[in-house]
């Protein structure tokens, strides 16, 4: 029903099959392979130099640790990333584990997402130039380029989103169930990376409703259900990891966990305070608009607006193939409620699933709108492609200028830990620093014995110690000692100065707690 356009530039399914047999350049596997190779090399070359990253240093360092040791990360668990880490450890490649992890979990998926962009936009616009331009513009967009070169999970999420989008696009064009079932398979697999993929369900419902005569058949339904179960079974792997003795570290989940612990871990209840808080102010909206307009300063916001207008006008006229841009733009919009609802202060990291489809959907819609003027389409495509190439060059400069954030961390610990007031100190750290320390700790590169803990996980260690003492790094204005005295009213804590090299990034202080002669009455 969607392909019954009265006029416009689209082709009907039969023509398209002919086109695919004659290999039109806009879906040439060779060009697609070149796009993939280009972005793999580009991101590989520009990878953030070292542990962490500029976006979320702690989480990135934690994912990078998977490159040499099995650990559990934060909820919902990311079983697919755990499997990837397991594969990296099995292969034991001759490169630094942090580099291999970043490359495989972010750079390669980023390149795949850009390749899917070429295929999607090439197909929407019937123009290889537009396809290449969209791939260049997505790949060099600020947030995309940064996340594809740091150990982040969103390039993989975007690769899944765009692969699913491409398969659904093929299904809408050809009405072949195979595409829909494959899309369901890819979609189910994507839940092993990130649970925010749930936001795409309305898109599937829309496609199913529009094609219910084809899709609502027992065989199809059973296959899809089996695929969903296969996707969900990734969380069985997660459960298995929690019970493995080789799992060296778990941050949020006591090991081995009870079933209810595991379920609440997967559900991400740890962050439940933030659920819905994004709606309390305009903050999340402001930051999202900022991300969209700074993907390409002075270009991305206008092109998204132009794309939506082009789509609206084409849709109004019932141009053939309006479902294509509708699908891709719809995927972007589907993720938007989550972004606005989740009130994390680092919400920008979550923006890629909105930015990616909106940007390429808009470029696709512009090209689709211009299809009836082939010369205009070619010129606009060339201009966008030229901009994308220049921007990729500029972005490579920016990416290469990032500086490591944890250089000298081990050296700092080697200086301060021996100055602890007690043997085997409790070392209270910020989250980012703790995660970077974890990477080195599991490689036995940090001074021992010492219990390195993130500040809010020190309570058990403090309770075990006698005398209670250790280090706080970086300094915290003395708040840690207040917490110890609050939880242990019989203790009285003092700070001890720690000598450090000049210019340190992580000033520290030591502390020692003694029994009070006259314990305070508890509050």
């Amino acid at each position: 029903m969607f392909m019954r356009g009265r006029r416009g530039a689209g082709t009907n399914p039969t023509q398209m099959n002919v086109a695919s047999r004659t290999r039109a350049p806009w879906h040439s596997p060779l060009i697609a392979a070149c796009v993939l190779c280009f972005w793999i090399i580009y991101y590989g070359y520009c990878i953030f130099p070292g542990l962490g990253g500029m976006l979320n240093a702690g989480d990135s360092a934690k994912f990078q640790t998977l490159g040499h040791t099995s650990i559990l990360v934060h909820g919902p668990g990311y079983p697919l990333i755990l499997m990837l880490g397991s594969a990296v450890r099995t292969l034991s490649l001759p490169w630094e584990p942090w580099w291999v992890m970043t490359f495989l979990m972010a750079s390669v998926p980023g390149a795949v997402a850009n390749t899917m962009t070429f295929l999607i936009v090439g197909r929407l616009t019937r123009s290889v130039v537009f396809g290449l331009a969209a791939a260049m513009l997505l790949g060099s967009a600020g947030l995309m380029a940064v996340q594809s070169t740091e150990a982040e999970v969103y390039p993989l999420a975007l690769a899944f989103i765009l692969s699913t989008g491409f398969l659904l696009l093929r299904f809408i064009e050809t009405k072949q169930q195979g595409y829909f079932i494959t899309a369901c398979g890819v979609y189910a697999l994507s839940f092993g990376n990130h649970l925010m993929m749930i936001m795409m369900v309305p898109v599937f419902l829309w496609v199913t409703a529009a094609h219910f005569r084809i899709l609502l058949r027992p065989k199809t339904i059973v296959t899809v259900l089996l695929l969903i179960m296969a996707g969900a079974s990734q969380y069985l792997y997660l459960a298995w990891v929690t019970h493995m003795p080789t799992t060296a570290y778990s941050e949020y989940l006591p090991l081995p966990p009870t079933t209810s612990d595991l379920l609440s871990y997967i559900a991400g209840t740890y962050f439940s305070d933030l659920y819905g808080s994004g709606l309390a102010s305009t903050q999340t909206t402001e930051v999202l608009l900022n991300t969209l307009s700074f993907a390409h300063p002075r270009l991305s916001a206008p092109i998204i607006i132009a794309g939506i207008l082009a789509f609206a006008s084409g849709w109004w006229r019932r141009d053939a193939g309006w479902t294509g841009p509708a699908l891709i733009l719809g995927i972007g919009l589907a993720f938007m409620p989550f972004i606005l609802w989740y009130g994390a202060y680092d919400i920008r990291a979550f923006h890629l699933p909105v930015l990616g489809p909106l940007l390429i959907g808009s470029i696709g819609a512009v090209g689709w709108f211009l299809a009836r003027w082939p010369k205009a389409r070619l010129s606009v495509g060339m201009i966008l492609l030229a901009f994308g190439v220049l921007r990729a060059g500029e972005m490579a400069g920016y990416l290469s200028a990032r500086e490591p954030v944890f250089d000298g961390l081990v050296e700092t610990l080697e200086v301060i830990v021996p100055q602890s007031p007690v043997d085997n100190p409790v070392v209270s750290m910020t989250y980012d620093m703790r995660m970077a320390t974890l990477y080195h700790e599991l490689l036995n590169e940090v001074p021992q014995p010492a219990s390195y803990r993130v500040t809010w996980r020190t309570a058990d260690e403090i309770a075990k110690r006698d005398p209670v003492g250790g280090l706080v790094v970086p300094t915290d204005g003395g708040q840690f000692l207040q917490w110890i005295e609050y939880r242990h009213p019989n203790l009285f804590c003092r700070t001890r100065p720690v000598e450090q090299q000049t210019g340190t990034r992580w000033p520290a202080y030591g502390f020692l707690c003694e029994e009070r002669a006259f314990p305070l009455a508890p509050d």
Binding site: Y398, A459, T475, G477
Partner: protein
């Protein structure tokens, strides 16, 4: 009949004979020409040529200099005068060191006057001239007597022939021995139409390449106290004459991180890697041995046009050489400043000795000037340097951004180094616009811009410091700064919403509950007062009070300035919630917090909250 017959005879001459005659005439002419070209010059008396040369030199130098007596002069074929190893000596004291020597002078003679027996020099081309302004020879400027020329009515004197200097050098007494200007390619000529003297060309000073375009009503009057009206356009850029290493070192650190403003400033003094900076001035110019004066002038700098004057006086060296050294000194300062992040900034020397013996008086004022991305409605700048003291006064008003006035006084004493006193105040400054300008410092945002605090700021500062390096200056910083922000907001965190979650019983700092993750948003406040006292290398943050609807924040602590270590503590207090009655003195939540780490990476840590209106959620049982 006779003539006609002859004509007839002539007409019946065979064509071959005519061709033969024409050929013979041409051959004769060629022989005469060639002979004249090669032999003629030998007939020109060298004495006459030397007189002519000296006359031209005298015209340009006010009659004070001429060629040395034993100069070898030859007239080469083509009537080109070649002077080998020329030396220009003082007419008054021929035994003194020559003011200028050169590899050779090439001076073509004008052919037409030559036919009438007059020797006139078309122009003078000096190859590799070396101008020596050291010591007594530096009296060049004083020797020149402008009246000698000015006495001649302008209309009657023939303009002197043009002088071209190719790849020359100028040596003069510098701060450390002898300074040198090299790569001097200049052309001095009289503009016939405007009767003005024009100097055009380029020269190399230190690491910079200067292109000069000078137009003066009266060149000779330039070197007098009275001066002359004129205009100058100086363009300064990096030197590209194969000495790329120089460019690399002097431009070190000037990568894209440099701020827009710094780039603009550095572009003006030719710091930019790619283009020449441009400075233009129009006014009355006067250069004497010890002073440079530009008065009643309009200066154009990087798109800004300002009126004012510039006067520099130096008692020991040529004032102009001191001024030419300024771009290099500034580029050194900028390179030092851009290295701040690398941790070397502490050792960056602060030196004013180069100002010794230099009296400088610069005053500029202008209106509606574009600077960076903003427009200055009015700005005034005054810089007075003398007796080892530099005083810089700045005042500016920008619509929407506010008023700024500041004074900086720098004194130099050997024992204490540079003694600095700075004071000033800001009024009605928009904090969000100001922070946006500061945010332009550093790399462009890769993934989006940070959100900025908002508010209207009024404040004042009064600071004193002394030292030999930037680090010593910061260590010795004393004084205070006070500021008040009204109707503003802090970006990033919604403090009220965060405190509210504590009021509702949220727990944190346990293994199950994790840290206190602040709610995203902005914290609107009515008033923020802060006082910072500087003493012995630390900033003492005292009396920070923030008051807003239903909440308050107090803070105090220290920030170590050189290392940037912070040790600040405070309390955030929730007084009421929307819809609740406010009881004076009642607090719902009191959250102590600390700020540690460094100013480059501050760590904000939440302390043990006291929730009074509810059962204490943090009790052990």
């Amino acid at each position: 009949m006779q003539p006609r017959m002859q004509l007839k005879r002539f007409m019946v001459w065979p064509r071959r004979r005519i061709v033969g005659i024409i050929g013979a005439v041409l051959a004769f002419a060629a022989a005469i020409g060639t002979g004249g070209y090669f032999v003629g010059p030998a007939l020109i008396p060298g004495k006459l040529v030397q007189t002519q040369l000296n006359e031209q030199i005298g015209r340009w130098t006010g009659g004070e200099y001429r060629l040395g007596d034993n100069t070898k002069i030859a007239v080469a074929p083509g009537f080109r005068v070649i002077v080998s190893d020329p030396a220009f000596v003082s007419v008054a004291d021929e035994t003194a060191r020559p003011i200028m020597t050169a590899d050779s002078i090439v001076a073509p003679l004008r052919i037409v006057p030559l036919l009438f027996g007059r020797i006139e020099i078309a122009n003078l081309v000096l190859l590799h001239p070396g101008i020596d302004l050291r010591g007594q020879a530096g009296d060049f400027v004083e020797n020149v007597n402008p009246q000698a020329q000015s006495a001649t009515p302008a209309g009657q004197r023939r303009p002197p022939s043009a002088v071209t200097l190719i790849n020359g050098t100028v040596r003069f007494d510098g701060a450390t021995g002898v300074d040198e200007i090299s790569g001097l390619d200049l052309r001095l000529a009289s503009d016939v139409s405007s009767d003005a003297d024009a100097i055009q060309g380029g020269l190399i000073v230190g690491g910079r390449h200067l292109k000069v375009d000078l137009l003066l009503d009266d060149l000779a009057a330039l070197v007098s106290d009275a001066g002359t009206r004129g205009s100058v356009n100086l363009r300064i850029g990096p030197r590209y004459d194969g000495e790329q290493d120089d460019v690399a070192t002097s431009d070190g650190g000037m990568s894209y991180e440099t701020t827009d403003i710094l780039q603009q400033l550095s572009g003006v003094i030719g710091q930019s890697r790619y283009r020449f900076g441009s400075m233009a001035a129009e006014g009355t110019f006067s250069i004497t041995l010890h002073s440079v004066d530009i008065s009643d002038a309009t200066f154009s700098l990087g798109g800004m046009e300002m009126n004012g004057h510039l006067r520099a006086e130096a008692d020991d060296r040529q004032a102009i050489s001191r001024l030419l050294g300024v771009p290099d000194l500034m580029s050194v300062a900028i390179v030092s400043a851009t290295e701040m992040g690398a941790g070397h900034w502490v050792d960056t020397p602060v030196d004013m000795t180069w100002l010794n013996g230099l009296d400088l008086d610069v005053e500029m004022f202008g209106e509606d000037m574009a600077f960076g991305n903003s427009v200055l409605d009015a700005a005034a700048m005054s810089l007075v340097v003398g007796d080892g003291t530099a005083t810089l006064d700045l005042a500016g008003t920008t619509e929407g951004l506010g008023d700024v006035a500041a004074e900086l006084v720098l004194d130099y004493a050997d024992s204490e180094g540079v003694v600095m006193a700075a004071s000033g105040r800001v009024d009605d400054v928009s904090v969000d616009k100001l922070t946006q300008i500061f945010a332009a410092i550093g790399p462009p945002p890769l993934i989006g811009t940070a959100q900025f605090p908002e508010g209207t700021m009024n404040g004042a500062f009064d600071l004193n410091a002394n030292g030999h390096t930037l680090g010593q200056l910061v260590d010795s910083l004393e004084g205070s700064a006070t500021t008040r922000l009204t109707d503003g907001s802090l970006a990033g965190t919604d403090l009220v919403a965060t405190l509210e979650t504590l009021f509702r019983g949220r727990e944190f700092m346990t293994e199950e509950d994790g840290p206190l993750i602040p709610a995203a948003g902005r914290t609107q406040f009515d008033q923020l007062d802060a006082r910072i006292d500087f003493a012995s290398g630390a900033a003492n943050v005292s009396g920070v009070h923030i008051a807003g609807e239903g909440f308050g924040i107090n803070m105090l602590g220290d920030v170590e300035l050189v290392e940037g270590r912070m040790n600040v503590g405070g309390h955030a207090v929730l007084l009421s919630l929307p819809g609740m009655e406010v009881v004076a003195g009642d607090t719902l939540v009191d959250l102590p917090f600390g700020v540690g780490g460094t100013v480059f990476a501050p760590v904000v840590a939440a302390g043990v909250p006291t929730v009074t209106a509810q059962v204490d959620a943090y009790a052990e049982d």
